[in-house]
Amino acid sequence: MIRLIRRPTPSKFWSWTTPILAVVATMIAGGLLFALLGKPPVEAIRTIFWEPLFGDNADYFRGQLLVKAGPLILIASGLAVGFRAGIWNIGAEGQYIMGAICGAGLALAVYPAESPWLFPAMVIAGAIGGFLWGMIPALLKVWFGTNEILVSLMLVYVAQNLLAYMAFGPMKNPQGMGFPGSRNLQQYPSAFNEELIPGTGAHWGVLAALVAVIAIYVLMQRHIMGFRIRVAGEAPRAARFAGVVPARLVVFCLGLSGALAGLAGMFEVSGPSGQITDGFNAGYGFTAIIVAFLGRLHPVGILLAGLLMALTYIGGDMAQMMLNLPSAAIQVFQGMLLFFLLGFDLLTNYRVRLGGARA
């Protein structure tokens, strides 16, 4: 008989080993999946994890790595704060869209005026857009006790429809010959979120992601708010006695993660994507949930997990080009990764013992 014995505290060793185990297991299961699809499994895994970094065209793809990792890390580091406190914002995708709409909306409203203040103002507008969208589930939870998971998720669909409405209606490019989609901000110097170092893919959003990682590390380790968040998540009753006000935590966590997701959306629309279109959102808000868990809800872990997840995106694109691997295979791959991680987490919280005797 296999017995499980709950550990008094989660194992430090396993908590950092399980993500690696999960990645290895996903590579094996993913290889099997690719084999089922009639693709050479080893080559497919190599194409996804090796080619973008060290392959023939690696110079181009390495830049893409930061472009994809930036928003993932920015969103995930905000989400992780809430997840630590047991506050589940799963509507980051919606907050990301609203940040993009607000940021781009400001630029489009003043077009074609040029000013060095425009981009900073757009950054603020993007953060506010995401913040306010995150405030809806926060305030509804605080005032009425409404479930934040369902409200934040419903708001994703509202935001998506608003995005489509904007792309086909108010924000449509008047010189776009009738095509849906806004003006391209890449051709609007004051609003363009340019690469800071050419060829690296590092735009302002990547820098913001780094700042966010450091700021959240400090918040969680050194600030009283971080302490409150950790206590509220691990021992809600103890938190009550320690004077933690749950309502303030809800507002703080959803506001913070909303603002960061909004920033990510704004940096994306003003940079790599360039315009508000119907399909502008690429699911970063959902993938960031995987990134947050894979990074153990820890800022440094998220940094690494974000880079890894960005790698699977780019590697997936490459595998699509070179091996004709369907693009959805990567989504399955990412989903599997989260499953394996959650399954292996058993080792973090429980000791596995063989034999029937009670320890």
């Binding site: 499980l4 014995i5 369902l150 419903m154 399955v332 989903g335 499953f339």
Partner: protein
């Protein structure tokens, strides 16, 4: 009967069809949650049911086998969730999200060859003269068999929870798993069964979307229906009868929204499409405001892992 350019009889008749997918999924989730497990993967189970049902129906040419395939696929997804949460004791919220993300990817992968294919049609149930009754005939007696099956399932779940011994055990497990375990009930087995039933109904709901409601396979076609099903269970305060009301309310808004689009009102399409989601939020808010202590309606052990050594 026409009001403001909208035929009311068509609207109500459409409502029943529009509600069926969420009604099925919400009824299944109700049973799962009554056993004390919160499965946030309804959306993932629905979309996998949609693609599996579609594929099965197209390859065999039989819609009935399609629905069976959809239900089976949904149950398989739920079994995966049950394995992780009940045996590997993983966090239910995170695992449910994983199930949804995985299901969306898997369905897109499997569904590629089926895009643009037409499924075999499902006929209406022949009610004979009953369907010729003015108004009532079109509203009540002009649908396919799955609509009636969904209503029968709601009634069956209601009866099972309220009057049967199985329902009592299910509720006991959901209210206090430690006590149920001490009484000798097999908590994990009961939860496995409840989850599989929930998954099968979600899969059936998904298959209804792709085989009858739309009828076509497109990527991401559930568009949040699974999440709305979850919201309906909360709205219903975990009661089967109210699940029916919630699902029909939601279906009514969806049907009305589609009719408004068809009637040519000058409201942008995307703003109309938003309506069901906004309504879901409004209903959740009103409900939680009414029952400030509404959490008591939820099964007491909802979302908590069970481990016999505790």
């Amino acid at each position: 009967m026409i009001v403001g350019g909208i035929d009311v009889v068509t609207l109500i008749s459409m409502l029943m069809v529009a509600s069926t997918p969420v009604l099925l999924a919400a009824t299944g989730e109700l049973v799962a949650e009554k056993s004390g497990v919160l499965n946030l993967g309804v959306e993932g189970m629905m979309i996998v049911g949609a693609v599996a049902g579609f594929a099965a129906a197209v390859t065999t040419g039989s819609p009935v086998l399609g629905f069976a395939g959809g239900a089976l696929a949904g149950a398989a997804m739920a079994a995966l969730f049950a394995l992780l949460t009940q045996v590997f004791l993983s966090n239910q919220t995170a695992t449910g999200l994983a199930l949804t993300l995985f299901g969306l990817g898997l369905s897109a992968l499997v569904g590629k060859p089926f895009e643009g294919v037409r499924p075999p049609p499902t006929g209406k149930v022949p009610f004979g003269p009953l369907s010729d009754i003015p108004m009532l005939g079109r509203i009540l007696f002009s649908h396919d068999w799955v609509v009636y099956l969904s209503l029968a399932l709601v009634a069956a779940v209601w009866g099972m929870l309220k009057y049967s011994r199985a329902g009592l055990i299910l509720r006991a497990v959901g209210e206090n798993h430690d006590a149920a375990h001490a009484l000798g009930y097999r908590v994990i087995a009961v939860r496995f069964a409840a989850l599989a039933f929930g998954g099968a109904l979600a899969g059936l709901g998904g298959a209804y979307l792709s085989l009858i409601r739309v009828p076509q396979w497109t990527e991401g076609m559930t568009a949040g229906a699974g999440w709305i099903a979850l919201a309906i269970v909360v709205f219903a305060s975990w009661r089967a009868g109210r699940v029916l009301i919630g699902a029909y309310l939601f279906g009514g808004i969806t049907a009305l929204q589609l009719q408004l689009q068809a009637a040519g009102y000058a409201i942008p399409v995307h703003l109309l499409t938003m309506a069901p989601y906004v309504l879901t939020i409004v209903v959740l808010v009103v409900l939680s405001a009414l029952h400030r202590h509404g959490a008591q309606a939820a099964p007491a052990a909802l979302g908590r892992s069970f481990h016999a050594s505790n």
